[in-house]
Amino acid sequence: MIARLLHGVPRHALVLLAVVLAILVAAPVFANDYLLTVLIIILYFAYIGQAWNILMGFAGQLSLGHALYVGLGAYTTAALYVHFGIGPWLGMPVAILISVACGAVIGFLAFRFGVGGVYFAILTIAFCEFTRIGFDHFDWVGGSSGLFLPVANYTRNDLLNLRGQPVMFYYVILALTAGAFVMCHALLRSRVGYYWQAIREDELAARSLGINTFRYKMIAIIISSGMTAPAGVFYAFYYNNLFPEQTFFILRSIEIILGPIIGGIGTLFGPVIGAFLLTGLSEALQELLTAYGLDTPGAKRVFYGVCLLFVVMVLPHGIWPPIARLLRLGRRETPEA
């Protein structure tokens, strides 16, 4: 099976990947606490970005409410842990199930008539907002005052309950991100992946080739939402507090999509590169703003908006494609090549 996944991948790409992976695995040895925290954030967004990319980049459906699945994943496992002492790994299947159920409902409502992307996008925002307000009144999970996980001492690393030092969390999110990467690669080459891309490019033409577009769009949203839930689990156990206003906030959904868009929708590396760039720049900007005393609320987000604007206008396919061409990592040729 590994041979099948590796078939057709240029050798220098594999070498590059191996080097990057090695650096990431060894990072905690060289990185200070601050850098480690930043890396965790980068990998977190790289993970979710890949999950979102399946729905948008592969299948062409724009979801602007992905924070819903993160939130559901977070709250489910957090509530199970706080109220019943059920550990995050046991709670994860439940979290995934609930996320998938939501995704399926949203997909069904939007895809049933094959109506255009705007219906779907609006529906995703509406569901996330609905859930945000709903959770504000959901007292069993703390309502608007929030849900807090008991914070034990940090000296022991308890992988089973995800209690421990940042290093442990780092390797968990690294494993998740790497796993997602391999999964996306496998999906792209499978029948499902081909069908998704056909649907993304031209749904009508896809249908005339025998593709049941409704079914495959549903598969896309199910996989995407299910894959996003574990990020929520990570979020809950890493930050230890959840508030509906923050967790389901629309800006969360926008943060999720910024990485893949800047990196390159529909590509494998896009979400990862985008996450690195965005978080890196964002941290740098934060330093700059604090240094100049311009650290007003909203300044950083204006920066996000400007970045997004720039990418959308100048690099509509993201930063990755030109880099890929430079590194000669593309499989396809154009007549000029």
Binding site: M56, G60, L62, L64, L109, A110, R112, F113, V115, G116, G117, V118, Y119, A121, I122, L123, I125, A126, F127, E129, F130, I133, G134, D136, H137, I250, I254, I261, I265, T296, P297, G298, A299, R301, V302, Y304, G305, V306, L308, L309, V312, M313, P316
Partner: protein, 290 residues
């Protein structure tokens, strides 16, 4: 509770709904003609609202009086925006358009946050606490004026599209882009005009609604979502539908606020959205989808 209270709340919701309808009307024009999904719609409304607040705070000018100037400013903003930034995106894939407008929305909301801060700002005119007694009903003066102003602006817009040559030209563009080109209409300019008109609607709605609602930056995205819900419920592409949808949502919000908690009122708008998508996806007044 006595029936009077229900009726008062309903009327209140209806009047607010008319202003929502005006806002959604702007979106209907933009989407119906230029076919751009304006995710910055609510944010444009908050610009108008803040304009009204500033004009009132510094010059004591009544928002109702400033409705037309503010609408004109927003018209200009929309016109220029369409002509310069948005036009190249017309032929681009849908998600590119979304992203462009989302980027604009983010910039607008957070710029407003930086300029005005997160606290709510409001306008207290001399009649802010007045009300009229019509029979057994009590109607807030601000809401009554707001509703009337919204109807007037909407009527003016309808008249424009029905009778003015420019309005008919715009409708021609919307119906048949290529045909319009062939006939010699300057489609680019008409698109800009349409976006400007849609923005003007939003501008007017924003100036009016400041009498009823306090403005904070996060109101932008909330109104964007509301505008889309209204337009989908009323029927994508139907201008009367936008007004009808607005009234419906206004009513729902008011009644929900009465029977449940006020903070849950937008949940009912979403519930209606889901119901519409389930049973009548083309909206109340929309055309049947193939």
């Amino acid at each position: 509770m006595p029936a009077d209270i229900y009726l008062n709340v309903a009327i209140s919701g209806l009047l607010t709904g008319l202003v929502y309808g005006l806002m959604a009307l702007g979106l209907s024009v933009i989407f119906g003609v230029v076919r751009v999904v304006n995710f910055a719609h609510g944010e444009m409304m908050t610009i108008a609202m803040y304009l009204a607040v500033v004009l009132f705070a510094h010059f004591g000018l009544d928002p109702l009086v400033m409705m037309l100037p503010i609408a004109a400013v927003l018209f200009g903003v929309g016109y220029v925006l369409q002509l310069t930034v948005i036009n190249p995106f017309i032929s681009r894939p849908e998600h590119s358009q979304f992203m462009l407008m989302v980027a604009m929305a983010i910039i607008i909301v957070n710029s407003l946050l930086m300029i005005f801060g997160p606290d709510a700002q409001s306008v207290q005119v001399s009649y802010s606490f007045d009300s009229f007694a019509i029979g057994r009903l009590i109607v807030d003066a601000t809401k009554l004026y707001a509703g009337l102003a919204a109807i007037l602006v909407a009527a003016a817009l309808f008249a424009f599209f029905k009778f003015a040559p420019l309005g008919k030209a715009i409708r021609a563009c919307a119906d048949n882009y290529t045909g319009a080109l062939v006939v010699g209409l300057d489609v680019k300019r008409l698109y800009a005009l349409s976006f400007g008109l849609g923005a003007a609607c939003v501008g007017a709605a924003g100036a009016i609604i400041v009498l009823i609602v306090d403005v904070t930056p996060p109101l932008g995205p909330a109104y964007t979502l509301l505008a889309f819900v209204i337009v989908i419920v009323g029927g994508l592409g139907s201008m009367p539908g936008a007004l009808l949808g607005g009234v419906l949502i206004g009513l729902t919000e008011a009644m929900a606020g009465l029977f449940f908690t006020p903070s849950a009122k937008s949940m009912f708008a979403f519930a209606i959205l889901v119901l519409v998508l389930l049973f009548r996806p083309q909206g109340i007044m929309g055309k049947r989808l193939t």
